[in-house]
């Protein structure tokens, strides 16, 4: 964890920051991109010199060709001069190529550095965001921004800006060279530039929505397709192939319409018409001037040659500007993510003692959004240090939300959560979280060795400590069953571990980290009884001696918990030990009674429920007592 005095106000509420002397301007996408480009002034200079040199060298060629013409039509023809011009053409074009290369290299360097820097900035900002932010954001979406969008910003620079600047240089030279031949010859190039700017603006304004429509239609088509293919078993099982085909055809038709629309916008590209007219007008103007004796043959050739160079901006635009605008759109998406406020702050200098482990929920109410149904409503629980609390309830009853209040992944809307009698908001965030570990339902492992994964929270742990933790977590044996033991690489580029194995690695992590409070989201179940046995032991051991919150589906765990909290739609409907709840709660009893129940079809048909649980009797009657709702035709 680093902090610095130089961090800007924005980072004041961040959970992580890196010391840097440079900061981007995040007020708008354009400013942001510009502030990134502006860091590399020397390469900007390289682009400018390169572009001007390239265009200048290009414009020089027709001038030299024009001189060659004059040399040939001179009386007598000047062969020496002709040869000189040929040599000059070669030299100038080689110099031009070198300058162009310099321009390309410069813009390549800037583009790649922007990609690197922007990604770094985004990543740092992501690490600084609160867990609640990461809970809300889909990982796929963040990844898309960290890879594709960052790449788009690179492309915005190169070839985007590179071409824009490069082609702009080509616009300038006819305006410079024309009047040098004859003052009047500024007219046609000037006409072109003005008309070009207007036409391009018009074109881009129409193109953006058309492109967006195609993109969206394509996305929808793709999503429909993906759904049909991924759900193919369901489609075939329900014999709905024809319907899917019709649905897909509709999407293809929508895409076709959008694609044709974009084609129509693209076909109406006025700059190329303006270019053609410019060429005709230029020839006319120069020939008339020649006729009037104001310029010579070489001038006519040179002038018309220079005008030809307008062709480059004419066609480069069609490609370069959309690239720039899609880059800006990506920049906007990246900024959105970075500028999203993180709700919590580190609260440096807050209370930072050793946690004993008392946890108290005091009339806690919380909802994820203003308009949403509260995820927790008036929850009051008191847990003593070292107790194990099982939290049970249906999906969506608020089980995970409850635990997220403790380590401040979310802050309460009303009420208060206290750890050791101190409001969690008064704790130093670092001190609080350091002493609370979470084992999530979906255990994430890095593509590194098993040992590295276990010691992730304590990088200094020795091999002996790692093995000890693994043994306590019942993971040692299966780890040794791999050829490379603790050095086995896991994850995407290595061995795939089963859910039960990942869970035990996570438990080993928790043993090493030795937190005072442990939150265990255990919603997986082992396929076989032997593994189940191991996991149960591991969990029991890791829970011992610390305050443990268990979100569990396992009846045995519920049973050995000191305190059981039954949640229903965000409210505590029952709370107590197993024995107490068996006596007092029908909801609770229903779960445990379920195990003895044998819902036999024959029994159902005879309307003779076999269960002795009152709840079950009611349930069965409910099922049976109802008319068979709908006409069940085959």
């Amino acid at each position: 964890m680093q902090t610095s005095t130089a961090i800007p106000p924005r980072s004041a509420t961040s959970e992580f920051s890196v010391e840097r002397e440079w900061h981007s301007d995040r007020r708008s996408p354009a400013r942001w991109v510009f502030s990134h480009i502006w860091r590399y002034k020397i390469y900007i200079l390289g682009i400018l010199i390169g572009s001007l040199g390239n265009a200048g060298g290009g414009a020089l060629m027709p001038v030299l060709v024009g001189r060659a013409f004059n040399a040939v039509v001179a009386q007598p023809p000047d062969i020496g001069s002709l040869g000189l011009m040929a040599v000059l053409i070669v030299v100038s074009q080689i110099v031009r190529a070198i300058l162009q290369l310099g321009r390309n290299f410069s813009s390549e360097i800037i583009g790649q550095r922007i990609e690197r820097d922007a990604r770094d900035e985004l990543y740092t900002s992501l690490i600084g965001k609160s867990m609640s932010f990461h809970d809300r954001q889909s990982i796929g979406d963040i990844m898309a921004r960290a890879t594709n969008d960052v790449r788009e910003v690179n492309l915005l620079m190169n070839p985007g800006v590179n071409l824009v600047v490069g082609s702009a240089a080509f616009l300038i030279f006819p305006i410079i060279i024309g009047p040098r031949i004859h003052p009047q010859l500024i007219l046609v190039p000037l006409f072109y530039v003005v008309a070009y700017v207007i036409a391009v603006a018009y074109y881009l304004r129409r193109l953006a929505p058309a492109t967006e429509r195609v993109r969206r239609a394509f996305g929808r088509m793709n999503a429909t397709l993906a759904e049909s293919i991924e759900g193919i078993e369901t489609v075939k099982g329900a014999a709905q192939e024809e319907r899917e085909i019709v649905r897909f055809r509709g999407m293809v038709d929508a895409w076709r319409a959008a694609a044709v629309g974009q084609g129509d916008v693209e076909s109406l590209y006025l700059p190329s018409l303006i270019f053609g007219m410019t060429m005709a007008l230029g020839l006319l103007h120069s020939l008339l001037l020649y006729h009037a004796g104001a310029i010579n043959v070489g001038d006519v050739v040179a002038y018309n040659g220079v005008l030809m160079f307008l062709q480059f901006p004419t066609f480069a635009t069609q490609f370069a500007y959309p690239q720039v605008s899609s880059g800006l759109a990506s920049a906007r998406r990246i900024l959105e993510l970075m500028n999203a406020e993180t709700l919590l702050d580190e609260n440096k200098g807050g209370y930072a003692g050793q946690i004993r482990g008392d946890v108290e929920f005091d009339h806690v109410t919380f909802s994820y959004g203003k308009d949403e149904r509260p995820a927790l409503q008036d929850v009051t629980i008191s847990v003593k240090a070292g107790q194990t609390v099982a939290i049970v309830g249906q999906t969506g009853s608020g089980k995970s939300t409850l635990t997220k209040m403790i380590n401040r992944i979310y802050d309460v809307d009303a009420g208060c959560v206290r750890v050791d009698g101190v409001d969690v908001r008064a704790w130093d965030l670092d001190a609080l979280r350091r002493q609370i570990s979470t084992i999530e339902q979906d255990v994430f492992l890095f593509s590194r060795t098993i040992a590295e994964n276990i010691k992730f929270g304590c990088p200094d742990a020795t091999q002996a400590e790692i093995e000890q933790a693994a043994k306590a977590a019942q993971a040692h044996d299966f780890i040794l069953s791999f050829k490379d033991g603790y050095n086995t690489i896991v994850g995407e580029r290595g061995v795939t571990l089963s859910g039960g194995q990942r869970q035990r690695i996570a438990i080993a992590r928790a043993f090493l980290a030795d937190p005072r409070i442990l939150i265990l989201d255990d919603s997986t179940s082992a396929i076989d009884s032997a593994t189940e046995d191991l996991i149960q032991q591991a969990m029991f051991r890791v829970a011992r001696g610390r305050t443990t919150f268990l979100i569990t589906h396992r009846l045995s765990q519920i049973r050995w918990a000191d305190l059981i909290v039954v949640l229903k739609q965000g409210r505590v409907v029952a709370c107590g030990s197993h024995e107490e709840l068996m006596r007092t709660s029908t909801d609770y009893r229903a779960i445990f009674a379920g195990d003895d129940e044998r819902p036999r079809k024959s029994a159902m048909r005879a309307r003779r429920p076999t269960s002795d649980s009152p709840h079950e009797v009611r349930g069965a009657l409910d099922i049976e007592g109802r008319e068979w709702g709908m006409g069940s035709g085959g």
């Binding site: 074009q93 770094d120 740092t124 759904e227 489609v235 007219m277 020839l283 980290a513 779960i591």
Partner: protein
């Protein structure tokens, strides 16, 4: 990036001829449009050639002291030509956009239609992501092929006409021009090659870096829980630097292309200027003709590089087409036999009706299932069922249990007709399963797979997926039959809750409930369930059991059971091992026998029982 490029088993080699002929078939319906398009392209080509001729003519006029009228006429001609040229280009683009969109759309529809009718073996074997890429992205490549071919034709025309015109003006200068051609061709070809090389190796590196970045992003959450932000950031920085280096190297190589081409063009111009100038001085050509040669250089240069790289550019497009055709042509192993044919095979030749129809199932099946000495294998090495026989009475419920690979899911795959078997017979209500119309037959099956699939729609619409005709009220009634509808109340928006992509807004348990409700709504005579292994909270589990009981009471049911309560609730448990039935009976009987089932119970089901819970509790307490 390379995802779509790897070869699949169903891929096959088509000769270029076959490919082109098949692509031509897609364009055939638009013959008229193609001809019009060709005419427009021809017009554009002609104008492209005439304009420089006019300008050269203008330069020639300079020599003979022209009158103003001729100059104006010439320039108006040029102006008109440029407008016509623009209009032709506009028309060409509009026509091309439509043509390409129509052809690609048709190809996508064909590819999808063919794909959706492939049997399940196909989908089990091939990753859906890759199949999708073929249908959407590979078809897109077709537009590139179309543009490339039409460009090639127009550029060839330009070149040929240009060379002929130039020859008539000055064969010496034309020869000088042609001498430079091989250099251009070689350069164009060489650059494509180099570019492809660096691009390919670059992509591989980028793919690697991308996956590392993805891990770094996904790992943030873990890093935060353990306060390891600095460590994960340092690691990220390393990856990011590598990404930068790889990209920069690739960028530098590609940066060379245009400067080199420009330098070569400059050299060519210098040569033409000097050689042409000498010729003009010697009186071999006019000054205008000389100018024409210099500006023709550009006209010559560009098509040449393009033609030189045509084959390497079109390769991508052609192989994309090959991938699409292979997808369309992949053969289905599930084959239904027409009734008449079957009768012929059986020898009932006197009863030949020649009515090439599959058995239509107009009435509801009773649900009797019989396997008669069935042989089934996925491939030559993997014989799953041999001489397998099983009879399931109408209305009976059967649970299949056994270790992985015992043949449980194979039996289900055969009943659903997702796979073809090799020997024996499967009879449904006494009729050969191969004679049914597949759509009609599957309409009578209720199927819930291990990971229930939901469509990105409301819960309501997911429930009536197999019965689109059901009213909202009817769906509601079905949903309420399960445990009194308590599960519906737990959904944030009741039956109108959007389930999200693949149902991700719902919990696993809720997804199972929706899938079971779907079957309840369908009310099929045969119900097939591959039970999910994911654990579910005890409350939801109760409701799943309630839904299951409702279905079991009404349909012939075949279940692959993973939950204790499921095996307890069926009429008959069938224990499978290596494709053979080794034990059958109900739970109590089999447990009492203490045989294979008792062993399986110990391995897979014991931990779900109350006894196990009590036992663990005691053990841990001690």
């Amino acid at each position: 990036m390379f995802m779509g490029l790897a070869a699949e088993k169903y891929d096959r080699q088509y000769s270029d001829r076959q490919l082109l002929r098949r692509m031509a078939a897609y364009f055939a319906p638009y013959r008229g449009r193609l001809i019009r398009l060709a005419l427009v392209v021809l017009a554009i080509t002609t104008i492209g050639l005439v304009s420089p001729l006019l300008i050269a003519r203008g330069i020639d006029l300079v020599g003979v002291q022209p009158n103003v009228g001729a100059i104006i006429a010439l320039c108006i001609g040029l102006l008109v030509l440029s407008v016509v040229n623009w209009l032709c280009n506009l028309t060409r683009r509009r026509m091309t956009a439509r043509l390409i969109a129509d052809v690609i759309g048709q190809m996508r529809n064909d590819a999808f239609k063919a794909t959706i009718h492939h049997d399940m073996a196909f989908f089990d074997e091939f990753q859906s992501g890759k199949v999708i890429t073929r249908i959407t992205n590979d078809t897109q490549e077709l537009s590139q092929v179309t543009v490339l071919i039409s460009d090639l034709i127009s550029q060839f025309t330009i070149l040929i006409v240009l060379v002929i015109v130039l020859f008539t003006i000055s064969w010496q200068l034309t020869l000088a021009l042609l001498v430079m051609a091989p250099v251009v061709v070689f350069l164009g070809w060489a650059f494509r090659r180099v570019a492809r090389l660096v691009t390919r190796s670059g992509f591989r590196a980028i793919a690697e870096v991308n996956s590392a970045i993805q891990e770094a992003v996904a790992g943030i959450r873990v890093a935060k829980t353990f306060r390891q932000e600095q460590a994960i950031y340092d690691r990220f920085k390393q990856i990011n630097r590598r990404s930068y280096e790889v990209n920069l190297r690739r960028g530098f190589v590609l940066s060379n292309v245009f400067p080199t081409l420009n330098a070569m063009a400059g050299l060519g111009t210098a040569v033409m200027t000097y050689v042409g100038g000498l010729a003009a001085v010697g009186g071999a050509v006019s000054v205008g003709a000389w100018y024409l040669f210099i500006i023709s250089l550009e006209q010559f240069w560009f098509p040449m590089t393009n033609i030189a790289s045509f084959w390497s550019q079109i390769q991508g497009g052609l192989s994309a087409c090959e991938r699409i055709f292979a997808l369309i042509d992949a053969e289905s192993s599930v084959k239904q036999i027409e009734n008449s044919k079957l009768k012929v095979e059986r020898g009932d030749s006197h009863d030949r009706t020649f009515n090439a129809q599959f058995s239509m199932l107009n009435s509801r099946l009773r649900g009797e299932i019989e396997f008669k000495r069935v042989d089934f294998r996925y491939n030559e090495q993997q014989q799953v069922l041999r001489d397998f026989s099983l009879h399931i009475a109408p209305g009976e419920s059967v649970a299949l249990v056994g270790h992985t690979g015992a043949g449980k899911s194979s039996i289900i795959k055969l009943i659903t007709r997702f796979y073809e078997f090799q020997g024996g017979q499967i009879l449904i209500d006494g009729r050969d399963i191969r004679t049914f119309d597949l759509t009609e037959y599957r309409r009578q099956l209720g199927l819930v797979s291990q990971t229930p699939f939901l469509f990105n729609d409301t819960v309501m619409n997911n429930i009536r997926y197999a019965r689109p005709d059901l009213s909202d009220a009817a769906v509601e009634a079905v949903a309420r039959r399960i445990g009194g509808g308590e599960w519906v109340e737990a959904l944030p928006n009741g039956l109108h809750t959007q389930v999200g992509e693949r149902g991700q807004h719902l919990s696993m348990g809720q997804r199972q409930l929706v899938a079971l409700a779907r079957v309840l709504a369908q009310h099929p005579p045969i119900f097939i369930l591959d039970e999910a292994t994911a654990s579910v909270d005890p409350f939801t589990e109760k409701q799943i059991q309630a839904a299951l009981n409702l279905i079991l009471a009404d349909s012939t049911s075949i279940l692959i059971a993973h939950r204790l309560s499921t095996v307890k609730s069926v009429d008959r448990i069938i224990v499978l091992d290596h494709g053979k039935i080794i034990e059958e009976g109900d739970h109590a009987t089999l447990m009492a026998r203490g045989g294979h089932y008792a062993m399986l119970y110990d391995t897979y089901f014991r931990h779900q029982s109350a006894d196990f819970n009590a036992e663990v509790y005691q053990k841990l307490k001690a």
